[in-house]
Amino acid sequence: MAQLSLTVNGTKVSREVAPQTLLVEFLRETLRLTGTHMGCDTAQCGACTVHLNGNAVKSCNMLATQAAGMKVTTIEGIAAADGTLHPMQEAFNQCHGLQCGFCTPGMVMSAIDLVTHHDCSSEAKIREGLEGNMCRCTGYQNIVKAVTQAAAATKAMA
């Protein structure tokens, strides 16, 4: 077992973990933060996307211990403390950007990274930016709409 200390959603946590534990397993099983989902075995679907020091990563694709000392943000950690939704969460709701909700946490985390760090000036660029996250329900149209709306809101705030 290895001792792992890191910050998750603003709270410092320290736990013993088996060295082979994936970050997603640590979040879901050890910390019981079950909002982060596992949809595939091959880092293809993106349902497990979280932020590591502010950048989107697929948490099924790294060991928990690789996140030692870093800041992890999950879907549970993006709304304001008073429950006010993040603009991306709000946009997904307004635009009907989710159906079954299973890919949604990963999609939202990727989308936040996308509008924060990348060019969202066209629908084509947004679609390309979402390529790492699969959704089987929405056909992506309303996800793209939500990201477009949130990107505009983010730009307006900046």
């Binding site: 079950t34 939704l85 989710l98 079954c100 679609r127 390529e131 329900c137």
Partner: protein
């Protein structure tokens, strides 16, 4: 309906989103019980083999192992049942070989369940599974669909020709004669490609047995928990139904694949009592590919006869349908009742005959996948109609218009009676939205770039809300096809609605609440919609076949009618008026023609605090339930137009425009309906351009067993879709006038795409998927 509130018809944003957007959804794998153990299934590495010996001795000694079970343990337990009996042409019943919980003696597909290993952790269960020693005697595998009947091996001894049934519908002699007299016959043979449903949440189950009460609880990613319970209790494990609670909590997409009773959850339930511990299993994605029921996989030859004026005179269809290695829950109904009965499409074709040869192969079971039979029917009709149009040089939209049904109700020659529709309206609007008039100019622009451009049409019809039970029963269904709903009015006028429909993305918690809010004249905030738990809901047939609103929603409406009727009697008593003088509008019970009224909440309070109450006529309380068995299917229909650009150098197909105009009857929430169409369209476009499930024809190994090999549509594969819901022709036989919208997109879109690719390349046929490789091959072959 209450005009003041009018939630119906509004794009109300979804109430269920709050939990999904914040990570508070609760899916099956999120549930961990006290004393939890974890299961792993050892699966067959061979498509077809005898199990010569199986030893679990070493595995049982491995760290953390709690129990190991094999087919030997399940010998005395029933097999998984098939829910629909189909008869052969000669009247004899289909072959129905045993579908074991765990393989016994023989394995029949790669991924077949061989052993269940339960341990303290998943890793320990996996490690122990690797220590199970199985000695296989590998047999030749039956993989090729076309050759299954004559294959040297038999998947099941009782079906030496690998035939489950040979079934027929329609007027064979009449159809043969009509084709003989036809001025023109168009003919095609094609494969409706095999698909893997791929809900992003893998299948999962968590089974728990309570030793003090001898009760079981099963949490399972499932679309119809009551059906799951009924099948598992009554037909497999012999558990009294009242001793089993099935909970389908938040479910991450279904698309059909979570309708069925699978061996995994059945084994877990049985073993949970043996081990006296809760057992959780969650499929890895590779397991989902191997073991979820697949979809489609039909080999079809179709002939359409036309007279000299382009009127359809006869349609002859021969289909070989792959059922896989075992009969999944509704497998046998998909290529028959849900397929061949739809072959009239939107047309007046007077003579139709369809023969279906359903075969066993050494592949995963095949069952309902979004559309289930109706996409295969639509592909068959819409490909051959378009082919005829191109062969005869008639505009494809015009040829369709010439043959559209214009008079309703319409009794088709393959057993259905369409209640209503307006096929010209959706076709004409789609042509307008797609700017078909500008196509030639766009084509010229493409040609200038060395690219090919094509236009493809599809005019689909589907039948939703499989019904009525009596007819389904006469056709072989072993289940009823009604729905149940309960409206529990609380003393303060707040309402909890319990529905047998199950939401796994469809937005019932919003749509159903809109209906209830309008009907009762109360705010949506005062209404809660509950589903997915046999411990709470009186009964339910679940969600599939785009049936939830048309059947489940109607059951709720019927229960609401009873609530209002009782409320009127209570109100009449309170206002000292005759029952017949009370009207209910805007959430108020009123004495007609007077200004006397009392609000809904006062009536509900009186029902539970019945001091001044007509005890001689009524019981206290305000809680009503209803079961609704529809008198007919509903018939959504529409027209889709796809415009593609093909690069002949690379074979890459780009969808430039996709236009959909659907008639779903009345619409409760347009935003949710459009979302359903988007998702359906992309699954259909995925089938047409990308997705393909492939087994090695010799070894039977699944070659497309991960997202690295099976091409799922991603955001950048798909264009912006133009989707419009027509004003529509309301369904005539349910009070909401709704038809269902969940599957339409997946049903109507594949032929539109392939018709467009064929048009662009000037070729008669293009196998699905129209991947760059397949397109490039087709271009080479056409030269």
């Amino acid at each position: 309906m209450n005009a003041r509130q009018a939630f119906i018809g509004q794009s109300v944003v979804r109430r269920e989103d709050a939990r999904f957007l914040t990570g508070n959804g609760q899916y099956t794998d999120d549930i961990t019980l006290h004393g939890q153990t974890y299961a792993v299934f050892l699966r067959s590495p061979h498509a077809h083999a005898k199990i010569k010996s199986l030893s679990t001795t070493a595995a049982a000694q491995a760290p953390g192992v709690v129990g190991i079970f094999t087919g030997e343990h399940f010998k005395a337990v029933g097999g998984l049942p098939c829910g629909w009996l189909i008869n052969n042409i000669d009247g004899t019943p289909m072959k129905e070989p045993r579908h074991p919980i765990l393989a016994h003696g023989k394995v029949r597909y790669v991924g077949d369940r061989v052993a269940l290993v339960v341990a303290e952790t998943v890793d320990q269960a996996k490690a122990a599974a690797g220590l199970i020693e199985v000695d296989y005697d590998v047999l030749p595998a039956v993989i090729d669909l076309a050759g299954a009947n004559g294959a040297p091996a038999a998947v099941h001894d009782e079906a030496p020709d690998n035939r489950c049934y040979l079934w027929q519908i329609g007027d064979k002699e009449g159809t043969d004669a009509a084709l003989q007299g036809a001025a023109h016959i168009s003919k095609l043979t094609f494969h409706n490609n095999r698909l893997v449903p791929n809900a992003i949440e893998p299948r999962a189950a968590n089974a728990h047995w309570n030793p003090s009460s001898d009760d079981y609880t099963l949490y399972v990613a499932n679309q119809n928990p009551h059906v799951e319970r009924l099948l598992m209790c009554a037909f497999v494990l012999g558990i009294p139904e009242h001793k089993m609670r099935v909970v389908a909590p938040d479910v991450g997409g279904g698309f059909g694949s979570k309708i069925f009773l699978y061996g995994e959850e059945t084994a877990l339930v049985w073993a949970s009592k043996q081990l006296r511990r809760p057992i959780k299993w969650t499929a890895e994605r590779s397991e989902s590919f191997l073991s979820d029921a697949h979809g489609r996989d039909h080999l079809t030859t179709v002939e359409l006869g036309l007279d000299k004026d382009g009127k359809f005179v006869g349609l002859r269809v021969d289909t070989t349908a792959n059922l896989g290695a075992y009969l999944s829950t509704f497998a046998t109904a998909v290529p028959t009742i849900l397929y061949a009965t739809l072959l009239a499409g939107q047309y007046t074709t007077p003579k139709i005959c369809c023969t279906v040869n359903a075969v066993f192969t050494n592949t995963a079971p095949v069952d309902a996948y979004r559309g289930a039979g109706r996409p295969e029917a639509t592909y068959t009709i819409e490909r051959i109609v378009e082919t005829a149009a191109r062969e005869l040089g008639i505009d494809p939209a015009e040829l369709r218009r010439r043959n559209f049904i214009h008079s309703f109700p319409y009794a088709s020659p393959v057993g259905l009676t369409y209640d209503t529709g307006d096929y010209d309206a959706t076709m004409n609007r789609a042509v307008e939205l797609a700017d078909v008039g500008g196509f030639e100019a766009r084509k010229a622009a493409s040609e200038a770039k060395g690219l090919k451009r094509g236009l493809g049409y599809s005019a689909y019809i589907e039948a939703c809300g499989i019904a009525p039970s009596s007819v389904a029963g006469a056709l072989g269904a072993r289940a009823g096809l009604f729905e149940a709903g309960e409206v529990r009015v609380h003393p303060t006028g707040k309402v909890t609605v319990f529905t047998g429909s199950h939401s796994h993305g469809q937005g019932h918690e919003t749509t159903f609440a809109q209906v209830v809010a309008d009907k009762l004249g109360i705010p949506m905030e005062d209404i809660d919609i509950q589903h997915g738990d046999t411990g709470k809901i009186l009964f339910g047939m679940g969600t599939y076949g785009s049936r939830s609103l048309a059947v489940g929603g109607t059951a709720i409406v019927k229960a609401l009618d009873k609530v209002i009727a009782k409320g009127k009697k209570i109100a009449a008593h309170l206002m000292e008026a005759a029952d017949s003088d009370i009207v209910f509008e805007g959430g108020q019970f009123k004495v007609a023609g007077t200004d006397k009224s009392i609000p809904f909440a006062q009536v509900s309070l009186t029902a539970y605090v019945p001091h001044n109450f007509p005890h001689d006529k009524l019981e206290p309380g305000l809680n009503e339930n209803a079961f609704y068995d529809p008198s007919n299917f509903t018939y959504p229909a529409g027209s889709y137009i796809c415009e593609v650009e093909v690069d002949p150098a690379t074979g890459v197909v780009r969808i430039e425009r996709f236009t959909a105009c659907d008639d779903f009857g009345n619409v409760i929430n347009p935003m949710i309906v459009e979302g359903q169409v988007h998702g359906g369209l992309v699954q259909g476009i995925g089938q047409a351009l990308m997705e393909n499930c492939v087994y090695d024809p010799e070894s039977g190994q699944l070659l497309t067993g991960s997202y690295m090999d099976y091409a799922m549509p991603r955001a950048d594969d798909i264009p912006h879709l133009t989707v419009e819901t027509a004003k529509g022709t309301p369904c005539t036989h349910n009070p909401l006038g709704v038809k269902g919208c969940g599957e339409a997109g997946a049903i109507g879109s594949p032929p539109a795409v392939i018709n467009a690719v064929c048009h662009a390349l000037g070729i008669k046929d293009m196998p699905m998927p129209a991947s760059p490789h397949n397109v490039w091959k087709a271009i080479k072959a056409s030269r």
